[in-house]
């Protein structure tokens, strides 16, 4: 007999019964990742309180200076303080990452629920999703930014759209298997309406995989934003983001590699730790996918 799901804490209840094992066996990796990510998030969120310079104020005299007590990481080609720019720039990068993850998970969830439950809608929706997935996501994002102009919201929109099909597929697969469960059929039999069954019986089954998927989307959105900015198709250049800073530093890479190194380091640390936490979440929420040890 299969082990019965046992929600005992509220966390387990939300994540779904099977999800959280009784003993959390965390390695050292996820803990370091969590600490690194926490430092980055806190540092960028509170950056306006402590950065020594206005990240936008230019000073022609101080162009391309090395690190000093005044400019901790040196200055860029316009004499702007690199440290202030990297810390403030993180705000936009993280905002885009988290924003894109939330928006695409939410929209994907709604579409996926409908697609999983209604046959006719499914046929149409999944063909649209297939065609979206057929286009390389960077290409699609560039096209969307080109259509809507380089504002913050249009970048989030451009990053979100290519991510939605993956979420839809995931949700649909969960719904397709859960709808065969007798408790769902029992709900139909007692006359519950379709929206109610979708939201109250089926939706909770998708939460655990969505949390995992959300972390991956967050990491990939931060990266996509950087790529878009680097290609000049991202947020407008007045707003510092990690991608923008690197794009501007590219020309001076030969004489001053630190212009790319520091934002690049922040970007890699951030994505690495998010992905590591995502893997950990997946192992905890779905032990079947965990690699067998020994």
């Amino acid at each position: 007999m299969a082990a019965a799901p046992q929600p005992t804490s509220s966390l387990q209840f939300i994540l779904g019964a099977v999800a959280v094992p009784r003993h959390w066996q965390l390695g050292i990796g996820p803990i370091i990742a969590a600490i690194v990510l926490a430092i980055i998030v806190v540092a960028t969120l509170f950056a306006p309180l402590y950065v020594p310079h206005d990240p936008l104020s230019m000073d022609a005299v101080q162009r391309l200076k090395g690190p000093s007590s005044e400019y901790w990481l040196g200055t860029d080609a316009y004499g702007r303080d690199l440290f202030s720019r990297v810390m403030i720039g993180g705000q936009v990068s993280l905002f885009i990452g988290v924003g894109a993850a939330i928006v695409s998970v939410f929209i994907g969830l709604l579409i996926g629920l409908v697609s999983g439950f209604f046959r006719i809608a499914d046929a149409i929706i999944m063909r649209i999703m297939d065609s979206l997935m057929a286009i390389p996501s960077i290409l699609l994002a560039i096209a969307l930014v080109a259509l809507n102009g380089p504002s913050l919201w249009s970048v989030i929109f451009a990053i979100t759209i290519p991510e939605i099909p993956r979420v839809v597929r995931l949700v649909r697969a969960v719904v397709l298997s859960a709808r065969e469960e007798p408790y769902v059929e029992a709900a139909i039999a007692v006359g519950s309406s379709m929206p109610k069954i979708l939201w109250k019986h089926l939706m909770p089954n998708t939460l655990a995989p969505l949390i995992v998927q959300g972390t991956y989307i967050c990491a990939s959105a931060i990266l996509t934003e950087a790529i878009l900015s680097f290609l000049g198709a991202g947020v407008s250049t007045e707003i510092p983001t990690w991608g923008n800073i690197m794009a501007e530093g590219r020309i001076y890479f030969q004489i001053k590699p630190s212009l790319i190194f520091w934002p690049g380091l922040m970007l890699s640390l951030c994505i690495l730790s998010i992905n590591l936490l995502g893997d950990t979440a997946r192992d905890l929420l779905d032990p079947r996918l965990k690699k067998r040890e020994g």
Binding site: Q6, F13, Y183, E185, A186, A189
Partner: protein, 552 residues
């Protein structure tokens, strides 16, 4: 009833389990097995019976050396196979033991066989890992054992994949694999539970035949007392990890000494139908006419051959009575239930519930009529939402039909008491209840809607016999109190005999016989019904009264 009355005192001892204890690793709870002693002689069939969780399977896995590593550990005891203590053998030596000296067959042959390998090759694999035979010799032995298990058309089946065979044929392949090296001991863990009765009968006969031919000792694990009566020489009764009684089969069935054994036997439903209730001219609450369901895969360019799941199905039920639909798997009985519930759409026919034809109503039009007909499913572990409290599950339907929340909660408490559970169960989650209790909750959820008809789709099939008896009793009481009509779908003739007033027998999607339970079970008219009754294991024995059935 003819029992096996052979004596084995002089025969060689094949397996001797002494004081075997098994515990959860690192656990301080009570042991899973507590000082188990079992002896099996050459040519003897020992049945290990008990309810779920009693430790039957753990015993067999311990003998096979297949206990889940890191989860279960043997704390003490000896497993002696022809003078060799299996517990002292290392991994490699134990592997040599398996198939050569001990082998095992499982409940579900589909999952025990490799789906992407031809069955002939799978049997050959056993020879490959334990013997060095030239290819021609190997093939000869495989064909020989396949003939011994009475597989038809051996050449074709040799090259077939498991999915191309029937359940009975697959189990024969498993038996062939188990016996090809002529082991001393065969362990059979519920080998016929997943099979239909007629197939079960054949497989039991096969095991007995091969055992007599090869002198194999058999450890047969089952929960079914009927099977025990048919096949056992000696019976061991297990409860909570202990052997509480063992005796030759006839002695045990006639004069059980332990109270638990008596209760276990008394819970076996009798094949003699209970008297039908009075037909006091009450109204028809469910009327099915010419129901037909065809499954056909619609494709863009081709049309797959349609499968006829149900055809010309007509019956009606009046208030306060129970109609049973019996049949083997694939007979269409569940299709009929699901059509009536409109969980699937019937292809043709009328389904009149409270004098409205619901067969053609759209999802929206259907909702007001759903209330009249409710269902209880087979699997108690999946029929309640694991994330919802019992209270939430019970009030869901009532809220849908406009009952106020406080009213619904109050009524749910009353319903729980009606089905024999404490009212404080409302705040608890499904996993805190046993299978039988969950089935009671599912029944409470169904009757919360005050339905006219309750459809029970194999509602007691997943339960142990003693729990099964209680749930049947509950259904009976509720019917008495509420005047509900029950459509009871089952593959088990014994259960049908205990609860049904009328019985419909289905085969290949059609009704082959429809009469009162007494007539169908005592004077069957159709050949198929007769075959079903013939195949019911232990049908000549009255388990509850510890004696032969008196011919009616």
């Amino acid at each position: 009833m003819r029992f096996k009355n052979r004596r084995f005192d002089d025969a060689d001892r094949v397996l001797n389990i002494r004081d075997l204890s098994v515990s959860l690793s690192g656990g301080h709870q009570r042991p899973i097995l507590d000082k188990v002693n079992v002896t099996i002689h050459q040519g003897e069939t020992v049945c290990l019976v008990g309810e779920s969780g009693s430790g039957k399977s753990v015993t067999s896995l311990a003998v096979m050396g297949l206990l889940t590593k890191d989860a279960l550990t043997v704390t003490s005891g000896v497993i002696d196979l022809e003078g060799q203590n299996l517990l002292e053998l290392d991994h490699k030596a134990m592997r040599q033991m398996r198939a050569r000296r001990i082998s095992m067959i499982f409940q579900e042959p589909m999952t025990a066989l490799n789906p992407v390998m031809q069955v002939g090759a799978q049997i050959e694999e056993v020879l490959d890992s334990h013997t060095k035979l030239p290819p021609r010799e190997k093939k000869k032995r495989v064909v020989d054992i396949m003939n011994q298990v009475h597989l038809p058309d051996v050449e074709r089946i040799y090259n077939s994949y498991p999915h191309q065979l029937s359940g009975g044929q697959r189990q024969r392949i498993m038996i062939a694999m188990a016996l090809i090296l002529e082991p001393k001991l065969l362990i059979a863990d519920e080998p016929t539970t997943a099979l239909d009765v007629t197939t079960q009968n054949q497989v039991l006969a096969l095991i007995t035949e091969l055992q007599e031919k090869h002198g194999t000792a058999v450890l047969f694990i089952t929960h079914d007392m009927g099977v025990v009566a048919e096949i056992a020489d000696t019976v061991y009764v297990m409860k909570d990890g202990q052997i509480i009684e063992h005796a030759p089969v006839e002695t045990l069935l006639r004069h059980p000494t332990e109270e638990y054994t008596r209760r276990l036997l008394q819970a076996v439903p009798s094949l003699i139908p209970r008297p039908a209730r009075e037909r006091n001219g009450a109204v028809e609450v469910l009327d099915v006419e010419g129901l037909r369901k065809v499954y056909g895969i619609r494709r863009l360019f081709s049309r797959a051959k349609p499968t006829l799941a149900a055809q010309d199905v007509s019956f009606s039920i009046i208030r306060g009575r129970t109609l049973g639909i019996v049949g083997e798997s694939g007979s269409g009985k569940s299709t009929v239930a699901r059509c009536i519930m409109r969980l699937i759409d019937p292809t043709e026919g009328e389904i009149r519930v409270a004098s409205t034809d619901i067969a053609r109503l759209s999802r929206r039009e259907l909702r007001p009529h759903r209330r009249h007909i409710q269902i209880v499913f087979q699997d108690p572990f999946r029929s309640l939402n694991p994330r919802w409290t019992i209270g939430q599950s019970l009030i869901e339907g009532q809220l849908n039909y406009g009952t106020s929340r406080s009213e619904a909660i109050k009524r749910s408490g009353e319903l729980l008491e009606l089905v024999g559970l404490p009212a404080d169960a409302l705040k608890r989650y499904p996993h805190q209840f046993s299978g039988g209790q969950r089935q009671r909750i599912a029944i409470a959820r169904a009757i919360a809607m005050r339905p006219d008809v309750l459809v029970a789709d194999e509602a007691v099939s997943a339960l142990d016999v003693s729990v099964q008896a209680q749930v049947l009793q509950l259904l009976d009481e509720l019917q008495e109190k509420l005047g509900i009509a029950i459509l009871f779908i089952t593959h088990d003739l014994r259960v049908a005999a205990q609860i049904c007033d009328e019985v419909v027998v289905m085969q290949h999607g059609r009704i082959v016989e429809h009469d009162t339970a007494a007539n169908v079970l005592m004077h069957p008219q159709h050949d198929y019904t007769r075959a079903l009754i013939e195949a019911a294991p232990g049908r000549h024995w009255d388990f509850a009264n510890f004696k032969e059935l008196e011919p009616a």
